[in-house]
């Protein structure tokens, strides 16, 4: 029974993964473009938002229709609500990849402030978090989702470290202010990408177990 609905739900989830793949790829390109001083690659990232935007709209439409036409319950309801929220997070990740690419292009117009180590590390962690969050979604894997939540702290720590380090450069040499600010912005964008991956992982936990782990909601008193 309900084969038709299950097929539609499956398609919705496939589209979401497609979007996740695109978002992930754009983050990878933006960070690689920065590390490899690859301006054409960065330009591609800046200009290529359209497929993600189209999927963003398509996924919302599909989810909205499934809610209206099938009035899903329980795990199906949670899956669709999660898909809607993950969709928004992925679209934001796409936007942040553009922000990273644009800041990187500005940065590359100046002499390098320093050898880039921590920013590529942040890029790796953010991408891994995103990939793991989407894997957790596909496999309905609570442990992997929890792992994503745990990873967020390391990203935050790196961002603070990068800020402190670049601040020292800026204080010493005024000429580094402009490019260093772009690096700080990039670290900020990568940290935000990690936040979106965290949101996705939280939605996966909600979808699979019906537990709301956001803002320690588990410890709040139950509603009447």
């Amino acid at each position: 029974m309900e084969r038709h609905f299950q097929e539609e739900l499956q398609t919705l989830q496939e589209r979401l993964l497609e979007m996740g793949g695109l978002a992930e790829e754009r983050v990878r390109s933006a960070v690689a473009g920065l590390a490899g001083s690859d301006i054409p690659r960065l330009t591609t990232v800046s200009g290529g938002d359209e497929p993600i935007n189209e999927l963003h709209i398509e996924i919302d439409r599909r989810a909205f229709q499934l809610l209206a036409l099938h009035q899903p319950m329980a795990v199906d309801l949670r899956a669709i609500v999660a898909a809607l929220k993950i969709n928004t997070d992925l679209e934001r990740v796409g936007d942040l990849a553009v922000n990273v690419a644009e800041a990187a292009r500005r940065y590359l117009m100046h002499p390098p402030v320093k050898q880039l180590l921590d920013i590529p590390r942040m890029g790796d962690i953010a991408q891994a978090m995103l990939r793991d969050a989407l894997d957790a979604f596909v496999k309905r894997d609570l442990d992997l989702a929890q792992h994503v939540l745990d990873e967020d702290d390391s990203l935050d720590a790196l961002k603070s470290q990068i800020f402190r380090e670049l601040l020292a450069y800026m204080v010493r040499d005024q000429a580094t202010v402009e490019p260093a600010l772009d690096l700080i912005l990039i670290s900020r964008h990568l940290e935000r990408i990690g936040d979106h991956a965290t949101n996705i992982a939280e939605d996966v936990i909600f979808m699979v177990s019906a537990r709301d782990v956001r803002h320690h909601a588990d410890s709040l008193p139950p509603q009447a």
Binding site: M1, M73, R78, V138
Partner: protein
Amino acid sequence: MTDVPTHATHLPPRPTVVRADRDGVADATVKVDVQNLSFYYGAKRALEGISLQAQTNRVTAFIGPSGCGKSTFLRTLNRMNDIIPGTRVEGSARIDGQDIYAPNVDVVELRRRVGMVFQKSNPFPKSIFENVAYGLRINRLVTSKAEIAERVEESLRSAALWDEVKDRVHDSALALSGGQQQRLCIARALAVRPDVLLMDEPASALDPIATQRIEELIYRLKSQYTIIIVTHNMQQAARVSDHTAFFWMGKLVEFDRTERIFTAPREKLTEDYVTGRFG
């Protein structure tokens, strides 16, 4: 891709699991308290050890596939099954602490206190007025004409029918629309001032607008009554009830706050049913 199960063909037999949500149950007083109730049609056991509490001023919905026992269970609550020969009840059912199967129970009085509305509206072939007055007259609950008229109006108002029929209460009830007839039956049940209202698929024969009226009525009536409703329509259970019990093959599989049953049921069987993966 995802491992969404598309169907559950082999549902394992499982013991009756009752998870009355303590948080939800503590917020009101218990009106109907059923403990370990089994019901037999001859040798066939139709209900197996049901334990469930319905609260005062709440709507409790029973859901489950056809033949799961939900209507049978509803009918044990005002002993409507007594009229079927060869039936037998084990366990206890209490209303306000009183065992309704105790030998000294006056079944007519029980059915006054525990009113019932059926799937198919069944007005008597009499006037609208007389349909509502009927229970008052045969039970001699009120005697003066003025009092009867007052109670009929009050009941028709409670059933949200008064404004539609006030100018023709002496017309035949059979001239009313299906939805109006069903609300008349609700008015008739309310006239004798019951505590508990049992509703067996009260809207399943009605169109969406009439169904919505019945659902709104249920919502408003619960401030005065304890309502227990059997419905095939899960969305209806979700819309109108505070607590939902899921029955399957004569067993109570899960009983919890309605919101919980439809968003995050604890039992796989319940989830399979509410998501349409059943059978």
